[in-house]
């Protein structure tokens, strides 16, 4: 190694020695020959003859010292850069095209990478477990504070047992209005046990878990970036949460956001946490780290023993309180359907970006092919000077790689600029932890992709360029008889594939756009326009009594009804698009042969004004009224699906049923309402039972307020916040509108980023196709100038000449459209099928078939039009060919 290093620097001297030595050699020879009686001139010639080619020998001798492959490569790079500089127009178009293609991929890959490909952001996550409990119905649930305390006291299998609770904060200053942000309450050992290092500042210290000293907060990375503009001085600053002052002590790393997505982390003070909710209602998520040497099985058996002791006082029929231990790794691999679909959305985006890159690369490849024709002479000269074909191919590939790498580097910049745009776009995909961050991984990815594309897409042009007939090329007649359709085959192939890829992208976009529009305009069963909503969490001790809650909200809704501009106001347990609780039911006098499957229904409580406020359609019976109270007979209103499913052949009005969890309360069906979209816009409708809230006294309540006119929305909303807030200083009111909720609902917000991005990519693909078709057509016109000149001289009409140019391009475009349509038919099979209904939403086709003819037709039309437009200037140019000039050209 040192030797090599030395050689690198002493090379100049080595070369000088060599030249001198060879010179001396020849001199000695000449002198010897002269001494033997040869004339000096002859002797010099003889010496050279005997010696051989002096330059070649010297060159060969020097080459021994070179690290030839690397140096050849560097030489090729230098040469490539020189060639690129010499044709700035070509270089600019090629690099820009590639930068867009690669940039799009880098940015989207960064999203995919951050949300799908990263390992868990915890240290030694295989030793981390979460502990769950069971509910009365046997379902797995987050443990109660009691169970948490017991585990902390008795469990021996763990190094650390940590707890995490939830908290809602309202944050802000009076000027900017309040905002509701959600956060966690964590035990001070939570971060250390999981092995998470704060990105800025410090972790909590143990004393901060005591009441009164817990006014410290650690921000999530997202919160820090979006609310505090990534202020590097954030640590030590104060912020007001729930009207209390908190000091920011740290910021968490970005990677944690995928698993713990809330904004604020504050110490968990168990006493005040349980005081607000009651010890058994206060839930604490338990995460623990296994002691070294303790197996998961050992931990499980220990936990089950503790659980048995805890359950000792409960009757054996009670299924609650079974503690289960689940591994972190397993835990985080099982995602909910919505999160899975959000990820699918990311893959779709990456697919779109990939198509754009392929189109861009094909574009550059065809430009390279065109240039190869121009460089035919240069290449011929090099071939005659003894450059071998593999050597030339290597050189052309290096040149191509330089071009693509330039594009790649610029692409990383493009990705960086698009960071904000993308972050805004993907916000709709929900807290999936995806973020754009152009780090070294992404940089390497970009370079890798550029390099791969350069090899793949540079190979054909390089092969093509070096396949030359020396004799023809060196003669000065190059651009005249450039074969026919046949010799342009690779270029034509690129054009066809460009159009085909564009077609795939446009069809994919078109189908998803039509689905999106269908979803957005789906009949919801209620009128979301002019409806304001207000929700409040009544978790403070003051509202622990259900009747207090109801009383408070009744007073509020009464007051809202009196506001000017308000048409009506109602209350509900869950607003439309929020889904609903479920329960199984027992039907009284159940007729044999009627529905025998699971009798699961959704249920929610509403007040008497809710249906009229939302404009539900009553199909039969009556709505609730003020007589339906806690003292009167239990009643229920069901939706159409409920009636059809459970009472298929009979009139359901007047029938009675009870819910399995309160089997003594028989509820009479007094009305039937039409189906509404309660969970998602693209759901399959499910049976829903509406209960009068005066009889159920639910925990959560939401107000829906219909105003008379859209102009009243603003004033009523402001009026509401003016008197809602002072009602109780400790309450946070989340105000919104139904239209906003539709806009933010999963089925729309999941699709929106994908559709928007595909629109962007589709536009990009069209632009690239325009450039590609234009480039190839103009080039073939330039190449055929002489042929066109002859045709015109022989009497061809100008329009015939234009037809000649158009015919070829259009033929290729049609071929591209046809193969693209076929490819699209196959590739759209990858789009997820059917809506998921209540369990989440998918980016699926909705209201449109995979073979939707309108989409295919429009994509064809748009691409065809673009191709035609791209031909316009070249065709004009062909028509303007002056036969005299064209023929005199040589």
């Amino acid at each position: 190694m040192m030797n090599w290093f030395k050689q690198l620097f002493s090379r100049r001297r080595l070369y000088d020695d060599l030249s001198e030595e060879i010179h001396e050699h020849l001199e000695e020879k000449i002198e010897e020959l002269v001494a033997s009686g040869m004339p000096r001139k002859e002797a010099a010639a003889a010496a050279r003859r005997e010696f051989g080619n002096v330059t070649l020998m010297e060159g060969d001798s020097r080459e021994v010292w070179r690290w030839s492959s690397i140096e050849n490569f560097l030489m090729d790079v230098r040469y490539g850069l020189r060639m690129l500089r010499r044709s700035p127009g070509f270089t600019a178009i090629a690099v820009l095209t590639l930068a867009l293609g690669i940039g799009a991929n880098s940015a989207i890959f960064s999203l995919v990478d951050s949300s799908l490909l990263r390992a868990l952001p915890f240290s030694k996550s295989a030793r981390l477990v979460r502990i769950y409990t069971t509910e009365t119905d046997g379902e797995i649930h987050t443990p109660s504070a009691t169970e948490y305390l017991a585990l902390r006291k008795y469990a021996q299998s763990f190094d650390e047992i940590t707890g995490l609770g939830w908290a809602d904060y309202f944050y802000g200053s009076d000027q900017s209005g309040w905002q509701n942000i959600s956060g966690y309450r964590i035990t001070t050992n939570w971060l250390t046990a999981l092995g998470v290092q704060p990105y800025l500042g410090r972790n909590f210290v143990e004393e901060e878990q005591e009441a009164g000293r817990d006014n410290v907060a650690i921000l999530s990375f997202n919160c820090w970036r979006s609310r505090f503009h990534a202020d590097p001085q954030i640590v030590g600053q104060r912020l007001t949460l729930n009207r209390r002052n908190f000091t920011v002590v740290g910021v968490l790393p970005e990677t944690l956001g995928r698993y713990y997505g809330d904004d604020i982390f504050a110490p968990l003070v168990l006493s005040s946490y349980t005081a607000a909710r009651g010890r058994d209602r206060a839930r604490v998520q338990i995460a623990a780290r296994l002691k070294p040497g303790v197996t998961l099985g050992q931990a499980r058996s220990e936990i089950s023993v503790i659980a048995q002791q805890l359950r000792a006082s409960k009757p054996p029929t009670d299924l609650s309180g079974h503690l289960t231990v689940q591994e972190f790794t397993e835990e985080f691999q099982n995602l909910g359907p919505t999160a899975r679909n959000a990820q699918r959305g990311l893959w779709m985006m990456l697919g779109g970006a990939g198509l754009v890159l392929l189109i861009a690369s094909a574009n550059v490849s065809s430009l390279l092919l065109a240039r190869a024709v121009k460089r035919r002479k240069e290449i011929a000269v090099r071939a005659t000077l003894g450059c071998s074909r593999p050597r030339m191919i290597r050189q052309l590939l290096t040149e191509c790689a330089v071009l693509f790498l330039c594009g790649g580097i610029l692409g990383v910049l493009v990705a960086r600029w698009s960071e904000d745009l993308l972050m805004n776009l993907i916000a709709g995909l929900g807290p999936n932890g995806a973020y754009v961050s152009i780090n070294s991984r992404i940089f390497l990815f970009s370079l890798g992709v550029s390099f791969l594309c350069a090899l793949v897409f540079g190979f054909v042009p390089a092969l093509h360029a070096t396949r030359i007939n020396l004799n023809d090329s060196l003669k000065d007649v190059a651009p005249t008889t450039v074969g026919g359709f046949h010799s342009r085959r690779p270029r034509n192939l690129f054009l066809v594939s460009q159009v085909a890829l564009g077609m795939v992208l446009l069809v994919g976009f078109g189908l998803l756009l039509r689905s999106f529009l269908h979803v957005e305009s789906v009949p919801m069963g209620y009128d979301p326009a002019n409806v304001l909503t207000a929700s409040v969490g009544l978790s403070t001790p003051r509202y622990r009594e259900p009747s207090t809650r109801l009383h408070f909200l009744r007073a509020t809704v009464e007051r809202a009804r009196l506001m000017p501009g308000v048409e009506s106001a109602g209350m509900t347990e869950t607003l439309p698009l929020d889904g609903a609780d479920s329960g199984s039911l027992i039907v009284e006098n159940h007729a044999a042969g009627a529905h025998e499957g699971t009798r699961e229904t959704r249920r929610l409580s509403v007040d008497s004004e809710f249906f009229s406020t939302m404009k539900f359609t009553m199909l039969a019976g009556r709505a609730f009224n003020d007589n339906d109270s806690i003292d009167s007979a239990a009643v229920v209103i069901v939706n159409q699906t409920f009636a059809n499913k459970f009472f298929p052949k009979e009139n359901s009005l007047g029938r009675r049923f009870a819910f399995a969890d309160s089997p003594m309360t028989w509820r009479e069906i007094v009305g039937i309402v039409s189906n509404v979209r309660q969970r998602n816009l693209d759901e399959d409708s499910q049976p829903i039972a509406y209960l009068p809230l005066a009889q159920t006294l639910p925990h959560d309540l939401h107000l829906a307020i219909r105003v008379r006119d859209s102009a009243d929305m603003g004033p009523v909303s402001r009026g509401l916040s003016n008197w809602l807030w002072p009602l109780d200083q400790d309450l946070y009111w989340a105000q919104s509108t139904m239209l906003q909720r539709v806009h933010d609902s999963e089925s729309v917000s999941l699709r929106r980023p994908v559709v928007t991005l595909l629109a962007l990519f589709g536009g990009l693909a069209l632009l690239l196709a325009l450039i590609g078709v234009f480039g190839i057509t103009s080039f073939s016109v330039a190449e055929r100038t002489r042929e066109i000149g002859i045709r015109i001289a022989l009497g061809a009409a100008r329009s015939e000449v234009a037809g000649l140019v158009l015919k070829e391009t259009l033929l290729l475009t049609v071929a591209g459209l046809a193969s693209g349509a076929l490819a699209a038919l196959v590739l759209t099979q990858l789009l997820p099928a059917g809506p998921l209904g209540w369990s989440g939403s998918a980016i699926s086709l909705y209201g449109v078939s995979r073979t939707d003819s309108l989409t295919y037709f429009c994509s064809c039309a748009v691409l065809g039009f673009v191709a035609l437009a791209a031909c316009y200037i070249p065709a004009q140019r062909a028509m303007r060919v002056d036969p005299m000039v064209a023929l005199r050209y040589e």
Binding site: I22, E24, E27, E28, F51, S61, R62, V64, W65
Partner: protein, 113 residues
């Protein structure tokens, strides 16, 4: 491009001859080529110049070393000298060459086996 000497000699042959000659005595390039020509009775048609790339390879691998000196004819010459590594390398090359030659000879003389 094919190097001319590779047409006439097998690869490594020239190096072997150079090393063998230098083992006898240190020489400069011109004297070296004259010696090889003379001892082979001009049977080997080598271009004098082809010696130099071979010498550079040997120098690079440190099988020989070179230094400038003044010859008896008062000429500045570069004298090549065999190194210890060169001597070892020569020995290995010669023995493997002999084995190869023996093999070839056996094939070329029929009836012996």
């Amino acid at each position: 491009m094919k190097k001319p000497e590779q047409r006439d000699l097998f690869p490594g042959a020239l190096e072997m001859m150079i090393l063998r000659t230098l083992k006898r005595q240190p020489l400069h390039g011109y004297a070296l080529v004259q010696h090889i020509k003379r001892t082979s009775n001009d049977l080997l048609q080598i271009e004098e110049g082809s010696l130099y790339p071979a010498l550079q390879r040997l120098l690079k691998e440190e099988l020989v070393k070179a230094e400038w000196a003044v010859s008896s004819t008062n000429r500045r010459v570069r004298i090549y000298r065999l190194t210890a590594a060169g001597a070892k390398h020569l020995q290995r090359q010669v023995s493997s060459f002999e084995r190869m030659l023996e093999g070839i000879t056996r094939v070329l003389t029929p009836g012996e086996s």
